[in-house]
């Protein structure tokens, strides 16, 4: 290339809408990366409403054909659609995210997002703080990148408190607050006194006056009196990784080399973190906080590895 590019335009195809943790955190990461101006690039982006399946494919094609975009970032499971497009638009970098995809390599980059490490930390807190020795988790669908969190949460709890028992429920829906509430209440009725809430409804915790944990973004503001902490997805390393790959191709002429295996940035790499305790910090016993901080430090130093377990979580 004669001149190095100074602009990077990204089209993002959302999966649930920016109000959701999954999509919202990506946009926030984009803002942060943009501010850093990697390679001196002026990064701009445009995102769609939630689109699925073939509609997502059509949207990708539209973006690709418009010639206006350098990276097309499909924020959910669209590798089937990308497969049809990637060779037709070899200069565009396609990103697919999360479970349910295949790695084709080339100009398709497959980004995985696991927040199992912070989930393990939350589990540690839960294991130490539970009085009933019963913990609950309410999930949407038992997908790969949901199971890893739930399993890690309970693994952390078990390590901290061998007596900790677990209850798990799936509502089989991405959105049904009423059902979510009922499953949470049922877990509380079985004696669970700390809930890992992946379905976003904290009302039952408020009513039962128990603490719970949010997922994927800092959900403290959703329910300041109950959400002690949350797992938080940070897409910054993913975005930077993709931007670098694009730069290497566009500015330096290197071929794209998308991954064919699952790859994710760990907590150590800045791919995820645990939200602060906010005003609930006082509820956390000093020793628990110290233990969690120590564990976190070990994870960050790479001396402790949280195992990835994506098997179907069962109550026991």
């Amino acid at each position: 290339r004669a001149t190095e590019p100074d602009k990077l335009r990204i089209a993002v195809i959302l999966s649930a809408g920016i109000e959701s943790g999954w999509d919202g955190t990506l946009i926030q990461a984009l803002e942060r990366v943009k501010a850093k101006k990697p390679h001196g690039l002026d990064i701009t982006w445009k995102y769609t409403d939630p689109l699925w399946g073939d509609d997502a494919g059509d949207a990708m094609r539209l973006f690709a054909e418009s010639g206006q975009y350098d990276i097309i970032w499909a924020h959910s499971t669209y590798s089937d659609q990308v497969k049809k497009l990637k060779d037709e638009f070899p200069n565009i970098l396609f990103v697919v995210v999360g479970s349910g995809n295949d790695g084709f390599g080339g100009n398709q980059y497959w980004i995985y997002k696991r927040v199992h490490e912070p989930a393990y930390l939350l589990g540690t807190i839960a294991g130490k703080m539970t009085k009933s020795n019963k913990l609950g988790a309410v999930g949407t669908f038992p997908a790969d990148d949901v199971n890893d969190e739930i399993n890690a949460f309970f693994a952390g709890a078990k390590a901290a408190n061998p007596k900790a028992e677990r209850t798990v429920a799936f509502i089989e829906s991405w959105y049904d607050p009423a059902k979510a509430a009922e499953y949470t209440s049922a877990q509380i009725a079985t004696g669970a006194d700390l809930i890992f809430q992946l379905t976003g409804n904290f009302k039952p915790c408020e009513e039962a006056k128990i603490l719970c944990f949010g997922n994927f973004q800092d959900q403290h503001s959703f329910s300041p009196s109950t959400v002690l902490s949350s797992t938080v997805a940070l897409w910054d390393p993913d975005v930077e990784h993709v931007v670098d790959a694009w730069w290497a191709h566009a500015a330096e002429g290197k071929p794209y080399a998308g991954n064919t295996d699952k790859h994710w940035f760990s907590m150590k790499d800045g791919g995820s973190t645990m939200a602060s305790y906010g005003e609930l910090e006082a509820k956390l016993p000093e020793n628990v906080r110290a233990d969690v901080d120590a564990l976190k430090a070990k994870i960050m130093a790479g001396t402790f590895e949280v195992p990835v377990d994506v098997s179907d979580p069962k109550a026991h």
Binding site: A178, Y183, A186, T190
Partner: protein, 310 residues
């Protein structure tokens, strides 16, 4: 699993039954009024959804839950007006009008919702809390089940005798049932069938909308797409299975809510079956129950048949 018979779990199941029942009961009573007036409104789902949405908007803009309740009622009545216009005035096929309403309500609420939250964090609200009735709620076992519920749960239970009284003891009820059985009998006495069906559908739909409103205000803190998730269909099923009688509808709604609560708790207790089977339990059991019962159909004779004079 053996925890199932522990008192705390049983109480929780029954308390959950009461909660789950509430929105269904409001909406089913509303639909009962509508159908007894001869209008087979298939738009329950859409009406409930609109009620939920209106409640959400009102709750997040005004901060008042009771204004939100009012908004759900008004929104329901407006949906009722659409249905009434299509069925009673234009005499369009009732099924078509109702299914169309579902489509319209699904699209409009989502469109407005997305416009409402565009470019900002989704506003939330804090919904109804349980109201413990003094003394009564302290009774062991049944106290938390019956007397520590959200205020609207008591209201919902109250609508059953009220609707019964309206239908069977008031002159409006007699006229209303006449609309469903043989509207011509009112027409030949010079009373406007259309006006009465309009009133009935609007009042019924207002209640249906309130059911959707409760779903929002009692269970959630925010609106989402397809918020009612098929509960409108359960309402219609409850009406048929309840044989169009207030008491029958109450019983079916409770039975359905109980099955759902039971399935929820079974899953949480780790029943050794696929969780999908537990989720399907209320539906499986409903079919099974209906295969067993036989009764003289209480279906209004002219239900769903547009009334034409000439």
């Amino acid at each position: 699993m053996n925890q199932l018979f522990q008192e705390a779990i049983i109480v929780s199941i029954l308390a959950a039954t009461m909660r789950t029942m509430t929105p269904l009961l409001f909406s089913a009573m509303g639909e009962l009024i509508t159908q007894r007036a001869g209008i087979w409104n298939m738009g329950v789902e859409g009406t409930m959804l609109t009620g939920s949405f209106a409640a959400y908007i009102a709750a997040t803009t005004t901060g008042s839950l009771w204004l939100a309740v009012l908004a759900a009622i008004v929104a329901g009545a407006l949906m009722g007006a659409i249905i009434a216009f299509m069925t009673a005035t234009l005499r369009v096929d009732h099924f078509i009008a109702g299914l169309g309403l579902n489509l319209l309500a699904g699209g409009l609420t989502l469109y407005w919702f997305q416009s409402y939250i565009q470019g900002r964090a989704q506003p939330t609200f804090s919904g109804f809390q349980d109201v413990a009735i003094p003394l009564l709620s302290d009774i062991s076992v049944i106290g938390p089940i019956l007397f520590s519920q959200r205020a609207l749960t008591y209201v919902a239970l109250l609508t059953v005798p009220l609707v019964w009284f309206l239908l069977y003891r008031s002159r409006y009820g007699l006229e209303l049932r006449c609309l469903g059985e043989n509207p011509k009998a009112l027409d030949v006495k010079g009373l406007s069938v259309t006006a009465r069906q309009f009133a009935a559908v609007m009042i019924g739909s207002a209640l249906t909308g309130l059911g959707g409103g409760f779903l929002m205000l009692g269970f959630s803190d925010r609106f989402l797409a397809d918020f009612t998730a098929g509960r409108g269909w359960i309402v219609i099923v409850a009406l048929i299975a309840g044989n169009w009688k207030p008491k029958g509808v109450l019983v079916t709604v409770i039975a359905f809510a109980f099955l759902e609560a039971l399935a929820t708790h079974l899953q949480v207790l780790g029943a050794p079956v696929p969780h999908q089977l537990l989720l399907a339990l209320p539906y499986l059991a409903s079919i099974g129950l209906l295969m067993g019962v036989r009764f003289r159909s209480g279906q209004p004779t002219r239900l769903g048949i547009p009334y034409k004079r000439e």
